[in-house]
């Protein structure tokens, strides 16, 4: 776990020190030290119950931590809140809620609007631009209940884009989407990276980590390892993370990065 030395701290998008989160005194995240440099695509992987969602939430103070500190661009979350764009799990909201696609995207602007002030023409136009980026502009007036899973995910992505953040935290952005949407989403993420943004995504599909991401954080309550995919994504590390229960990775020698 020597990733601290891999980067200069002034170049860090996210700096997590000694973060511990417990539910009823049972730790779900145990003493996490994690530094995320700016301008990378980082995958967080680990088995069910590893604390991936909890980590994303703890960074934003959505769950209270028992110990530890999180810095966003060198400041606390409260101070640099507007630098964070958040995409919660698609399944965490009720898609029967009476609202339209464009309205959901506009919700992304609520954070910068603050209390009471309502979104106006500027936010409306911005929301349309973001919908266009994710290829959903023709659906702007649709009821959200009529969307497919992939379309829902694109709308969520557009809602994060409107936040115009520097660091994007995404909870399973590829969950339940078809191959076309997956390709569309990843090209948007790469475009974000090319503009110097940092994307941190919970990702389940180990097969595509090498292809999609630059860095990977392997998590199972404790941090197993974190760093560039080439160094970290090894059979040894995956066995440590998943307890040797994955069998799809074949034909690689121990210590060598998976897929290389």
């Amino acid at each position: 776990m020597d990733n601290v030395n891999e980067t200069d701290t002034s170049d860090l998008a996210l700096e997590i020190t000694d973060l511990t989160v417990a539910y009823d005194n049972k730790p779900v995240l145990w003493d996490i030290d994690l530094n995320v440099p700016k301008g990378i695509l980082l995958a967080i992987a680990g088995p069910n119950g590893a604390g991936k969602t909890t980590l994303i939430k703890a960074v934003q103070g959505l769950v209270s931590s028992a110990a530890g500190r999180v810095l966003v661009y060198g400041e606390t979350y409260e101070k640099n809140r507007k630098l964070i764009g958040y995409v919660p799990q698609r399944g965490s909201v009720d898609w029967d809620f009476p609202t339209s696609v464009i309205d959901v995207v506009k919700m992304g602007s609520y954070g910068s609007l603050g209390w009471i002030k309502r979104p106006g023409t500027k936010e409306h136009n911005h929301a349309r631009d973001c919908l266009e980026k994710v290829g959903m502009l023709e659906y702007e007036k649709r009821q959200i209940s009529e969307l497919s899973g992939g379309q829902q995910q694109r709308v969520f992505l557009a809602r994060a884009l409107i936040q115009d953040a520097s660091v994007y935290l995404m909870d399973e952005p590829f969950q339940g989407v078809d191959a076309t949407t997956e390709k569309a989403i990843i090209s948007i993420l790469k475009e974000l990276r090319s503009r110097g943004k940092t994307v941190i995504a919970v990702h389940h599909d180990l097969q595509t980590i090498k292809e999609y991401f630059d860095w990977v954080t392997l998590l199972n309550v404790r941090l197993i390892d974190s760093g560039p995919v080439d160094r970290v994504f090894t059979t040894e590390n995956l066995n440590k993370t998943y307890g040797g229960k994955i069998n799809f990775i074949r034909d690689i020698t121990p210590g060598q990065a998976v897929g290389s």
Binding site: R81, D94, F97, P98, M107, Y110, I116, R118
Partner: protein, 367 residues
């Protein structure tokens, strides 16, 4: 219409509108049954506040009620969070306890005052015009009208001020929390509004039927629109219509007004449930039947294009063979054929079916 009758209807509309506004958010937050819990347990708050203040007309009673409403929500969520019991069971555990303590206290100490149990359960809108407000001797109307008017105004101000915040905390609690809109605090504020509304409605419709006014109109509106602002508007409209209609039904049958209001709103829901243009039972049934026929017509075109140009085409496309090949009954098959012909998708030559150009392009598109 006598002045009293007009006043009763105005009060009924005020009550229904005040209830429909926060009710819309309760429904969307999947907290409909919380209304029932709050509307019952506020009784305890009213009784305790009455014992402390000894004045049945004091506005501080509303404060007591609001506190016990929030206490109810807190207790329900506490039980639920600790995973002892599910949410519906925790509602079932909390409010009967608080409500019965209230009932026992009334029975023990206050049996001779206005707070009698019958009025608590059902309310009595018919008596509302008798309690009047006088300003230097001049009668300016029934007290409930002013109380409910103020509550409605409070609800309108609260919801229009925090519309955006209520919307995002209801739809996506996580993002709302990340934006620091404090979902829990807003929830407490909303529950306070619900409690205050319940206290007002309590006098008119009693604790049992408040839920009908809070939940039924928003349920109707939800079937009719998929926009939050329209849903709020329609809820108020439907609530008002059912309260006025309920008043006249009660008049006709010489029945309890609150009961009639609840029945009418239930009937309105039933009608909407059947007839709503997009989600209604009938609309869905019609859509399904239409889909069935369209699917069969497509199937026929695809069957024909599959065999087009092959040696056995004549055999496959003979009308009498169609029954066998498609496993359709003769009636069903001839109806599919005649509609397809009418639409110009097929032609019949010597009892054989042939695709027209249009039919062929539809069949190709179906792949």
């Amino acid at each position: 219409m006598s002045p009293h009758e007009i006043e009763i209807q105005i009060i009924a509309i005020l009550v229904a509108s005040s209830c429909a506004l926060p009710g819309t958010f309760l429904l969307l937050r999947k907290m409909a049954m919380m209304t029932d819990a709050i509307s019952h347990s506020i009784l305890l708050g009213i009784v305790v506040a009455f014992f402390l203040i000894k004045d049945i007309a004091s506005p501080l009673l509303i404060l007591g009620a609001a506190l016990s409403g929030v206490l109810t929500v807190f207790l329900v969520e506490l039980l639920n969070k600790k995973r002892f019991v599910s949410k519906d069971a925790s509602i079932g555990l909390v409010f009967p306890l608080l409500f019965s303590i209230g009932i026992i206290l009334i029975g023990l100490f206050a049996w001779n005052i206005h707070l009698d149990i019958h009025a608590v359960l059902l309310g009595e809108l018919a008596f509302a015009p008798f309690d009047r407000v006088y300003i230097s001797g001049t009668d300016i109307g029934p007290k409930s009208m002013y109380v409910m008017g103020s509550i409605l105004l409070l609800n309108i101000i609260f919801i229009s001020l925090f519309y955006k915040e209520l919307k995002i905390t209801t739809f996506d609690k996580n993002l709302a929390a990340a934006f620091r809109f404090f979902p829990n605090m807003l929830n407490i504020a909303l529950m306070t509004i619900v409690s205050i509304t319940c206290v007002g409605a309590f006098d008119s419709v009693g604790s049992i039927l408040v839920i009908a006014l809070m939940i039924v109109p928003p349920c109707c509106a939800f079937m009719l629109t998929k926009s939050l602002s329209k849903m709020l508007f329609l809820s108020v409209l439907i609530g008002s219509v059912s309260s006025v209609a309920g008043f006249w039904v009660a008049n006709l049958l010489n029945a309890n007004i609150a009961g009639s209001m609840a029945v009418v709103s239930g009937v309105i829901f039933g009608v909407i449930f059947l007839m709503a243009p997009n989600n209604g039972l009938i609309a869905i049934k019609i859509k399904k039947i239409k889909q069935k026929w369209e699917f069969a017509e497509n199937l026929l075109l695809v069957h024909l294009i599959n065999h087009e140009g092959s040696a056995e085409y004549e055999d496959e496309s003979k009308i009498e063979h169609l029954y066998k090949h498609m496993l359709w009954t003769p009636d069903f098959a001839s109806r599919v054929i005649s509609t397809s012909k009418k639409k110009g998708n097929i032609e019949i030559v010597d009892k054989c079916l042939y695709l027209t150009d249009e039919g062929r392009s539809i069949a190709t598109a179906s792949f």
